[in-house]
Symmetry: C2
Subunit: 247 residues, 2 copies
């Protein structure tokens, strides 16, 4: 069946996968993804047919998906988290549109890292938040930092994707500095590595210490707003109930 | 078993529920939620034991959950979407912390409306985005509008929760006006009613026409950034691949 499902399979653990994501993967003739994600999925779908490419080969993966779909295959193009958040949904739709291909596509949403990480930390995203990727592979660094500042000025909670990679080690400290212009150095920050996976690790720190924290490309960083606090190891952003009613 | 799971069950359709959310609901002695959500869940869990309260009774629902857990019950406190995004996670943790209650709590993430809506529209959240609730039940209106403006200045895609209710009909038009100070009136806007549910409806419009669009309390509104476009009925925010490589 000529068809591409763009599937967000959640953090990587099958417990956080939706029923629709699992069904799309099970029904696919072939599942295409970034090598690391395919390794995760192989555990849960031992008999499925997988194809993978290295990390930066998004366009190649889309072309593989398109060409297999055109042969009449049902393809699942997978991203961890939500395929529509820094995932494969946009690039696939752009390619189909530019090349005038008429292939049925469904985007299947998943639990994105901000939500999986927040659940482990407590409830840091209970009020308005901004999602920002610190990767400058496709966005100029100054544009990213400008967004970080506007989010800080607007007192948004920030969820930072791709906070560091082997090559980009300075940007997180830079972002913390920009945010520090508008927010206390004692603002709580939660870092979750491998959010929602069995090997997950989390740590709580503050904005002023964020530059020194252990953060890598598998981490999501959540920076509180001016009202966020930590109590009993949980990071909480109040929504405002406490001002209306006494507990 | 004395325990509370705060469960985000996704948009409402069981296909978008995660395995962990379903398991938490199935294993619960009692499931507590807002009446409308409980009606949705009863279809999928016909033998489960439910308790519900009307919409604004969040604190009462938390107290019910705490008191049942203290009797030794396993409770699932449910929110649609993600329980950590304008859901029940924060308020429950705040109550437990203020009252010094020692009850094991797990927050189980789900697919939030921004992601469910985006998947139906195409790929509008492929670049940095801000999530803002237009409900002024717990936040002063001017604070909300200030955030809307900062998000617009930072060229974030915006995902607006609670865009309208029976009482609040003016705020969405007001937000569109504020955004229009920084972004073209022709900026694409996607509106999804009942995102991710069988009865879902979607519509594409523009920022200048948003004030006249049919939007209600079951809708999520996604406003593109300066690069978002619509082609073949899909709303796409490019991530930047097209500038690096020719398709």
């Amino acid at each position: 069946m000529k068809r591409i499902d763009v599937v967000g399979f959640g953090p990587g653990d099958d417990r956080h996968m939706t029923y629709q994501a699992r069904e799309a993967i099970e029904k696919a003739d072939v599942i295409i993804g970034y090598t690391t994600y395919i390794r995760m999925l192989e555990r849960y779908f031992p008999t499925a047919s997988f194809m993978d490419t290295p990390m930066t080969k998004e366009i190649e993966r889309c072309r593989m998906a398109v060409s297999l779909a055109e042969e009449g295959k049902r393809v699942a193009l997978v991203s961890s988290g939500d395929a529509g958040v820094y995932g494969m949904a946009g690039i696939l739709l752009q390619i189909l549109e530019k090349e005038g291909k008429d292939i049925p596509v469904e985007v299947i949403p998943g639990v994105t890292a901000a939500n999986a990480g927040a659940a482990m930390l407590g409830a840091p995203l209970m009020h308005d938040y901004a999602v920002i990727s610190l990767s400058d592979r496709m966005t100029p660094l100054e544009d990213i930092m400008r967004r970080v500042e506007y989010a800080a000025m607007g007192d948004f909670v920030l969820a930072l994707y791709n906070p560091k990679s082997r090559k980009r080690t300075e940007y997180l400290g830079m972002a913390a500095e920009r945010i520090g212009k508008y927010r206390s150095g004692r603002t709580p920050v939660g870092i979750v590595r491998h959010a929602g996976r069995p090997e997950a690790q989390m740590c709580l720190t503050t904005l002023e210490k964020l530059g020194d924290a252990f953060v890598d490309m598998f981490s999501i960083v959540i920076i509180g707003n001016s009202k966020t606090y930590v109590k009993n190891g949980r990071m909480i952003t109040p929504r405002g109930y406490e001002s209306k009613e006494a507990f």
